[in-house]
Symmetry: C2
Subunit: 428 residues, 2 copies
C-alpha cells in the first residue's frame, strides 16, 4: 500500500511539472473567472464542507487536542464567508504575471525585456487551519503556479472537502489536470518523499511553527522560503515623542500578541527611562502584560511602586531571544542607539523592528543598521503584513533573505525570464 | 587535527556572519578603493602568485592530470592582467546596494521604500580555475557581501596566494576580519561541513559541473543557486531569413562550443528543411561539426551527397538531452512551431533558446511558451552572458528559478529590505 502510494506521489509531482507549462499560459481573464467560481462553489457546498469539518473536530476531541487547536480547526459559516471574500478580492488584484520589470537596449542593439513569469510547482506545507487550503489555492491560481497542498493531518477531511469543491470548478473550466494538487496521503512519510522531488517541485513554502520549518529545511532538496519566528523590537529613543511611543508600543504588544509581528522586546534609552517607563509599564500592567525587565527596569518599577512579584521578573538572555506570542514583554534600558541596534541584530529574528524618535538622523542610522526585513520609523511592527502594505494578499512573512523577504504576496510568487529581440546578432 | 579544523571552520562561519553587519555598512567609495588596490597588489605580487601557481601545476603534472585541466589551472602574466582589469572594471560599475526598487505610500500614510541590501554570507564553491578566486572576491566586496571561498584542491596554492595578496589590502583598509574568507582545509569534508551551517551562511553558489552542483544540492541546508548545464536550442522557423539563420546557428554552435550557452540542438521547420539543411550542414561540416540527425535530416544529407559515416549518426533520445560542449550538434526536423516548443521544454535545460523567423506572431508564441531563462528572437544563444547583457560583470548563469534566473551579476547578489516611515501609525 505504502509502495503504491509512493509511486502515486512521485507521479503526481511529475504530472504537476508537466501541467505547469499549460497552466502558465492560461489567460489572466480565465484565472479571475475561476476565482469567482471558487467563491460561488464554496457558498453552494457550505453544508458539505461544514459536515466534513465536523469529522475533523470530532476526531480532535476524541484525541483530546487542545481547545486552541480545535478553534483553529473549526470552520464556521463566517469563516467560510471570509474564504469566499478572499477569492473575490484576489480576483480584483492586478495580474502579477507578465509585468515588465525592466527593459533596455544593449550597444549591439539587443532589446532585452525582463518579464515576470510564474515560478512553477509550489509545495505548500501547513498546519491545522483549513482556510489556508483556500488561501494558497487562490494565490497559486492567480499567479499561474501549480500548487501541491499538504495540510495538517488533523484537518484532513476539511482540507479535502475544500479542495474537492474547488477542483470541480477547475474541471468545469478544463483546467489542466494536475494543475492544482492535494496530497491524499495522511502519513508523515509523504512529506519526506515530496521534499526530495527537486526535479519536479520548484519551491516549498512551509506555513507553521519554527520546529516544522527547521525540519523541512533539514531534509528538503527543494528551495524553501522560510517563515521563522518574529522577535520584534521597538526602540524608544531619547528624542522620542513619548505619547506616540506609548501608543505604538502598546499597540505592538497588546493588539494581537499571538502574531509574529507583535513586539517581544522593548528597548528604552536610559535618558528617558525614568520618565517613560513608569507611564508605559502602568499601561501594560492594566492590559495584564507580564514584564521581564533588566535590573534598571525593575529598579524603576520598584521605586515608582508598580512592581509586583507576579507581574515582574528579571530578564535572562533567553528572554531576549524568545518569541512569547503572549502577553509577556522583555524590557531593557540601553545606553544609546548603538547598543539598541546591536541588541536587535543579536537577539532579534530579522523580522520587524521599529525606532520611535523625532531625530531624523537617529532614525536613518537605525533603519540602515538594523538588519531586518522591515524597519520602521515611528510606526508599529504590527504593520508588517501583506494587506497593510497594500499588496492585497499575503502568503506569509518571509524571514529568509533569498527571493522574497518580508511580506510575501502575489509578486513574490513570480520569477522572471529575459525576452530578447535581435536582428541577427551573434557573439563576436 | 580534523576535529580542530572542524571547530575552526565552524568558528569562521560564525565570525563571517558577525562581520557581515559591519561589511554591509562600508561606504561604496571605500569598496571601490579596495578594488583599485586589489589590482595594484596583484600586479606587485605577480611573481609570488606565479610561483605558487607553479606548485599546483607541478603537482597536477605529477598526478597526470589532463592537459585541459592543467590549462585551466595555469596563470600567465596575461591572465593576471585580466584579473586586475576586472577589479578595475568592477570599480566603475554603479553600486548595487541602496537602490530604491520601489516606493509607495499606503492609505494609512506609511511611506514604504523597498531598498536593495547585500544578501549576507555567500559560500562560493568552484573548481580548478584560480582566476575565479579574484572574480568572486571582487563581486562580493563590490556588493557588500561576506564571501567564503572554497576553490578546487588542485588549485589550492594559487587560490591561497591570490587570496593572501588581496587579504593584505583588506587589512590595510581595516576591513572587518572575517569579512572575506578562504577555506584553508583542502579535504573534502570541509565542504560537507560548511553546507550544514545554515544559521551562518545565507547562500551557496557552486561554479562547476553538473555533478558537483547535484551533490551540493543533495547535502546543503543552505539555499543553493544552481548553474546547471545548458542544452540550448535554435529553432529555424518556416518564415526564417535563411541567411540570418545560417549565420546565427553557425555562431551559436561553433564560436565557442565548450560554453553553456552554445547551441546543442538545432530544430528546423519541415517546410524549409530541404532548402536550409544542405546549406547549413555543409557549413557545419566545414567547421568539423559532427551531426546527430533525425531520420529526415539524414535522408536529406544522403540525397544531397553530404552524408558520411564519420560525420553523421542517427540521433537518439539521449542525444537530445546531452550537453556536448563540443563540435557535435543534434539536428531535428519538426512539423511546426508547437512541436519545436514542446521539444525544447522537454529536452532542454531552461537556459537559452532562440527562434529565427520573420513572423512576429510566431516569435511571440515561441518567446512566451518556451520556459527558459533567456528566450531570443533572431539572435544567438551565445549572447546569454552578464557582459553581453550590459551588466558589466558575471557570477554565472543561473538555471534556477528562485531569486536569480539567467545571467547573475551584482544586482543578483543583493536582496532587499523594507524601510517604512510613519507618524505614529498603529494596527487597528
Amino acid at each position: 500500500m505504502e509502495e503504491k502510494n509512493r509511486k502515486k506521489i512521485i507521479l503526481m509531482a511529475k504530472k504537476a511539472k508537466e501541467a505547469f507549462l499549460k497552466v502558465a499560459n492560461i489567460s489572466s481573464n480565465n484565472r479571475n473567472k475561476i476565482l469567482f467560481y471558487f467563491a460561488k462553489a464554496l457558498k453552494k457546498n457550505r453544508d458539505f464542507i461544514l459536515q466534513e469539518n465536523q469529522k475533523d473536530i470530532n476526531l480532535a476531541k476524541r484525541l483530546n487536542f487542545s481547545s486552541a487547536l480545535i478553534d483553529r480547526l473549526t470552520l464556521s459559516p463566517a469563516r467560510l464567508e471570509a474564504m469566499c471574500n478572499s477569492f473575490l478580492k484576489l480576483r480584483e488584484l492586478p495580474d502579477p504575471v507578465g509585468r515588465i520589470l525592466k527593459d533596455w537596449t544593449t550597444p549591439a542593439g539587443l532589446k532585452i525585456f525582463k518579464v515576470s513569469v510564474p515560478i512553477g510547482v509550489i509545495l505548500i506545507i501547513y498546519e491545522s487551519r483549513p482556510d489556508v487550503t483556500a488561501d494558497c489555492l487562490g494565490l497559486c491560481i492567480k499567479s499561474g503556479n501549480v500548487v501541491i497542498l499538504r495540510g495538517g493531518s488533523e484537518a484532513f477531511y476539511s482540507n479535502q472537502a475544500i479542495f474537492k469543491v474547488c477542483h470541480q470548478v477547475l474541471k468545469d473550466f478544463s483546467y489542466p489536470s494536475y494543475g492544482a494538487n492535494f496530497v491524499f496521503v495522511r502519513e508523515k512519510w509523504a512529506v519526506d518523499l515530496l521534499l526530495k522531488l527537486n526535479d519536479d517541485i520548484d519551491l516549498v513554502i512551509p506555513r507553521g511553527g519554527e520546529g516544522l520549518i527547521r525540519k523541512i529545511t533539514r531534509i528538503s532538496r527543494i528551495p524553501v522560503i522560510k517563515h521563522y519566528k518574529g522577535i520584534c523590537h521597538i526602540y524608544v529613543d531619547k528624542d522620542a515623542d513619548l505619547e506616540m511611543a506609548k501608543k505604538v508600543c502598546f499597540n505592538a504588544k497588546v493588539q494581537r500578541p499571538a502574531t509574529c509581528n507583535a513586539m517581544e522586546s522593548m528597548l528604552v534609552h536610559r535618558d528617558i527611562a525614568l520618565k517613560f517607563l513608569p507611564l508605559m509599564l502602568r499601561e501594560f500592567l492594566s492590559a495584564k502584560v507580564k514584564i521581564r525587565g533588566c535590573p534598571l527596569t525593575l529598579k524603576i518599577a520598584r521605586e515608582t511602586g508598580i512592581f509586583s512579584k507576579e507581574m515582574f521578573k528579571e530578564a535572562t538572555d533567553k528572554d531576549y531571544s524568545t518569541e512569547y506570542l503572549d502577553l509577556i514583554l522583555a524590557v531593557k534600558v540601553v545606553k544609546d542607539l548603538e547598543e539598541a541596534v546591536a541588541h536587535i541584530n543579536k537577539y532579534g529574528s530579522h523580522h520587524s523592528d521599529a525606532i520611535i524618535t523625532k531625530n531624523k538622523e537617529s532614525a536613518q542610522e537605525f533603519l540602515k543598521k538594523v538588519d531586518s526585513a522591515c524597519v520602521y520609523h515611528n510606526a508599529s511592527t504590527r504593520l508588517t503584513d501583506g494587506y497593510q502594505f497594500g499588496m492585497g494578499a499575503e502568503m506569509g512573512i518571509s524571514t529568509d533573505r533569498l527571493h522574497a523577504r518580508g511580506p510575501m504576496a502575489l509578486e513574490e510568487l513570480t520569477t522572471y525570464k529575459y525576452t530578447v529581440y535581435g536582428n541577427g546578432q551573434i557573439r563576436i
